[in-house]
């Protein structure tokens, strides 16, 4: 009953935040509206990764690829074909989910680090193709000035679009995690052997989680195109994937909303520290070391410790 109350309180808070964010453009400058939109996109990306990492304990090391596949599919369809905008917006997440299914089917047979490594390899394959196929993808320059549909072309309207999509996706992710499927996924994380013993198809569940996560990663990719109007190979590069991974750890990966916090912190750092100095990764590194030494709970969250105690070998 107590947890029910907390849940209602959390629900109230998130509705309040959502309303506040809906009102935000009326009193914020254009830069901050854009800045918030970037945070939303990154937050959705980190949330989608966390479905695998935090709730499924799958070391999805190259999640950025699916973000990039979503962005490239939507961006290329918008820039090079005359299909209606909503087709390209739907195609992005679907292509990402398809890539997730294909890559997942290869990777899922392997454990932990090997899973991550094979995924990095397959992901790098996609990155290399996007990076080299000048005729289609514009190679290392990417494509800029992608025509965005008029109704979301301005900073303010794209902000609302991103916010509403983020709200829908977060609700869906929450419902997925609370569904029997989500509970099973977390049970597999906590004790895969026992889950297999009671007749759960562990691999199939994990694969489903990957496909769902990559779908939402693709949605984030489409939102990126809406906000930035461009695509480039760095979206698929492994450094970005590692950055999202860190966002999940930073916010607390066994919490639902943790990755949003992590994404907000990293994007803010990049924007504000990056405007003072070009060496912002140096500062990010120092901050990371400080967190490791002085605030490990802030990185991992208290729950991780409990989980470790639970599964000590």
């Amino acid at each position: 009953m107590f947890s029910e109350m907390i849940r209602q309180k959390a629900f109230g808070i998130s509705v309040a935040i959502f309303v506040l964010l809906l009102l935000a453009p009326s009193f914020l400058s254009r830069f901050y509206i854009y800045f918030l939109a970037v945070i939303f996109v990154t937050a959705l990306l980190a949330m989608s990764l966390n479905l695998c990492v935090g709730h499924g304990m799958l070391f999805q090391f190259h999640h950025g690829v699916f973000y990039g596949v979503g962005a490239y599919t939507a961006g290329l369809l918008l820039a090079k074909t005359s299909v209606p905008w909503w087709v390209s917006f739907l195609a992005g997440p679907c292509a990402a989910a398809l890539a997730g299914l294909l890559i997942g089917m290869f990777c899922i047979r392997l454990n932990r680090l090997y899973f991550g490594m094979l995924q990095i390899s397959l992901g790098s394959l996609i990155w290399a193709i996007a990076f080299r196929w000048y005729d289609l993808t514009g190679g290392d320059d990417g494509i800029h000035g992608i025509p965005i549909p008029d109704f979301i072309a301005s900073t303010r309207s794209s902000y609302y679009f991103v916010l509403i999509v983020l709200g829908i996706c977060l609700t869906l992710l929450y419902l997925i995690l609370k569904s029997p499927f989500g509970s099973t996924l977390q049970a597999i994380r906590d004790n895969p052997e026992r889950c297999a013993a009671v007749g759960i198809n562990v691999r199939r569940h994990q694969l489903k989680a990957i496909v769902i996560a990559t779908f939402f990663g693709g949605v984030a990719g489409v939102l990126f195109v809406v906000v930035e109007g461009s695509i480039f190979p760095d979206l698929l590069f492994w450094v970005l994937s590692l950055e999202i991974f860190i966002m999940c750890l930073l916010g607390g990966w066994f919490t639902f909303a943790g990755p949003i916090l992590g994404a907000a912190v990293i994007v803010s750092l990049r924007t504000f520290v990056g405007s003072y100095t070009e060496y912002w990764t140096l500062i990010l590194g120092v901050i990371l070391i400080l967190l490791i030494f002085f605030l490990p709970d802030g990185i991992m969250g208290y729950n991780y410790r409990q989980l470790l105690r639970f599964r000590t070998k």
Partner: protein, 298 residues
């Protein structure tokens, strides 16, 4: 027809040899990574940055001595030592305090180190392209089947096996090498018989980084040294170590050969997508043998 075939044969053999010499560089770098992986069980993300610093340090040392032959040989000796010193400082001042903590912390630390070293390199050396001349003895090329083959690549083909044999002798014949191998298999037992585990870790870490620096110094005459080489090498190195078998030195050799040779044949067959070939090879290997070609120490 006869002539055409001869040219193809020559092209193939040159391609093979170029791939082989590239594999030697990869081997030197990945054997270091593999060593750290075996003993510390940590994928050292900063390994690529140390490789890059090795290349930049080689440039500076060689420039300091006028860029001639002596400069090059001194660079080959001192650049890895500079890298080893940097890694020793990082290990003893910060990294060693994390050994008792969760494993992921170690991984995160090496990532932080990569971010810091990458930017420090940019601050010290700037974002320009640098190049180093190999010494006079290794300049020019020799003829193999009538096609030119750079002498420097020949030099690499000699150095690679020498490093491999050296490492093998070191880890099987010397006491500290044996301790490091034992630590890779059972760390607690090593501690239980009274060996200072923390220093074994430090030693393994510094030796691994030294090899990264050596790889960087060796590669510097063949490419243009610049910011961003760390990002490319580290992902290749991780994949090589994975397909070879984690922590296995000969696995690093096998993985490097697969990677280097598929890459150079990719250049021959489909230059635009040459970088795709090694990744496909990795996928095939991991699909057939999920834990790598050779036995992993994990």
């Amino acid at each position: 027809m006869e002539g055409g075939q001869a040219i193809t044969l020559a092209a193939l053999s040159i391609t093979f040899l170029v791939g082989l010499s590239r594999a030697m560089i990869l081997f030197i770098v990945t054997s270091g990574l593999s060593f750290v992986l075996g003993v510390l069980r940590v994928p050292n993300v900063a390994h690529g940055s140390l490789y890059m610093i090795g290349a930049f340090a080689a440039y500076s040392i060689s420039a300091l001595f006028g860029g001639g032959s002596i400069g090059f040989w001194l660079a080959l000796i001192f650049a890895p030592l500079v890298v080893a010193l940097i890694s020793l400082i990082a290990e003893r001042s910060l990294f060693c305090h994390l050994y008792q903590r969760e494993h992921l912390m170690l991984l995160l630390f090496t990532f932080a180190l990569m971010l810091i070293l990458g930017d420090l390199t940019k601050i010290v050396w700037g974002a320009d392209y640098r190049s180093i001349m190999p010494p006079a003895v290794l300049q020019g090329s020799i003829s193999i089947f009538g096609s030119p083959f750079p002498r420097y690549n020949l030099f690499l083909l000699v150095i690679g096996p020498l490093v491999a044999i050296g490492l093998w002798l070191f880890s099987t014949r010397t006491k500290i090498g044996k301790i490091a191998r034992a630590a890779a298999v059972d760390m607690e037992m090593v501690g239980a018989i009274g060996i200072n585990v923390s220093w074994v870790f430090a030693f393994a870490f510094v030796l691994g980084c030294l090899l990264a620096g050596l790889g960087g110094a060796l590669v510097s005459p063949t490419i243009s040294v610049t910011i961003g080489m760390d990002h490319n090498i580290i992902i290749e190195a991780f994949l090589i170590v994975t397909i070879g078998g984690l922590g296995n030195m000969w696995g690093a050799m096998v993985g490097s050969l697969i990677f280097g040779i598929t890459q150079s044949f990719g250049v021959l067959l489909l230059p635009q997508f040459a970088i795709v070939f090694p990744y496909i090879a990795v996928v095939i290997v991991l699909t057939l043998k999920p834990t790598g070609m050779l036995k992993s120490v994990w």
